[in-house]
């Protein structure tokens, strides 16, 4: 059971959060100019690394803020969490 440090509320139990997938995937600005493969890349292709992973979480039962976390997908340790727009 993860203990995740919400950058606003501090450490909280995993059950207060919901996972929101890989972080730092910016929505393309002029989507109509993308070809199908480029669009598919944005839509579906993911790093899914074994090890360090930058990902988004939502403090759903808390402050309702999305934030980023760098978490190891093998040992599950959250190395850091940081607000949207910030760097880890």
């Amino acid at each position: 059971m993860l203990l995740i440090e919400c950058p606003y509320c501090g450490e909280r139990d995993e059950t207060e959060f919901s996972y929101a997938g890989e972080a730092h995937i910016a929505r393309p600005l002029e989507t109509e100019k993308l070809n199908d493969a480029e669009w598919a890349d944005y839509l579906f292709m993911r790093k899914n690394p074994k090890g360090a992973h930058r990902e988004q979480w939502l403090h759903a039962a808390g402050c309702r803020r999305y934030f980023n976390a760098e978490r190891d997908t093998v040992n599950y340790k959250v190395k850091s969490t940081y607000k949207i727009g910030e760097q880890s």
């Binding site: 606003y8 509320c9 059950t15 207060e16 808390g62 309702r64 803020r65």
Partner: protein, 192 residues
């Protein structure tokens, strides 16, 4: 304002009157006013307007609450607060805030019927809440003046310790109130 008796609390079907001997006391304070306040504290105009209407600036420290006269303001997020007013005053406060914040990026939404408040007091209050709340409620770490949004069983709640240390108040959503009430009633069987 229509007559108060025309209101029905969300817990109208739950009776906390006859709990087990050692159970904490559970009491609803129905019909308070609840305003969801949004704005940026980086904007001085916003802070000033809130100060003017509520007599206090919105707390910027996460998970704290402030009191000002009859009002209480809970921190809910970096740009979100819950303003609790006495019964029947939410509309007035909302209008005043709206007037002051007319040109300021903000939002004041009346949620008075969407929430209700329970006071859980007595020796076993913490025990009852920790039956299915993962938050550490120990007085060393969760002190009067603090508040938190967390969960109880499968519902959300906002919780704060009472000033006098006698227990907690929790604010829960109307549609989940019945569920939480029944859960607590069931949990109190332990305290016979």
């Amino acid at each position: 304002m229509p007559d108060l008796f025309q209101q029905h609390s969300p817990l109208v079907q739950i009776d906390f009157g006859e709990l087990q001997d050692n159970a904490p006391t559970i009491e609803e304070t129905p019909f308070l006013g609840y305003l969801n306040l949004r704005g940026k504290t980086s904007n001085m105009a916003f802070v000033a307007a809130v100060l003017k209407v509520l007599g206090v600036e919105p707390p910027t420290t996460a998970n704290t609450m402030v009191e000002s006269g009859d009002y209480r303001i809970y921190w809910l997020g970096p740009d979100e607060w819950l303003v609790i007013t006495p019964t029947g005053q939410a509309g007035k406060v909302q209008s005043e805030l709206n007037a002051e914040l007319k040109d300021v990026f903000s939002s004041i939404v009346d949620n008075s019927s969407g929430l209700t408040l329970l006071k859980i007091t007595g020796e076993n209050a913490t025990k009852l809440l920790n039956r299915d709340c993962p938050l550490d409620l120990h007085p060393w770490v969760f002190k009067p003046g603090q508040c938190a949004q967390t969960r109880f069983a499968k519902a959300g709640m906002t919780i704060a310790p009472l000033r006098d240390g006698s227990g907690f108040e929790i604010i829960i959503r109307r549609s989940f109130a019945d569920y939480i009430g029944l859960w607590m009633q069931d949990a109190c069987v332990e305290f016979e």
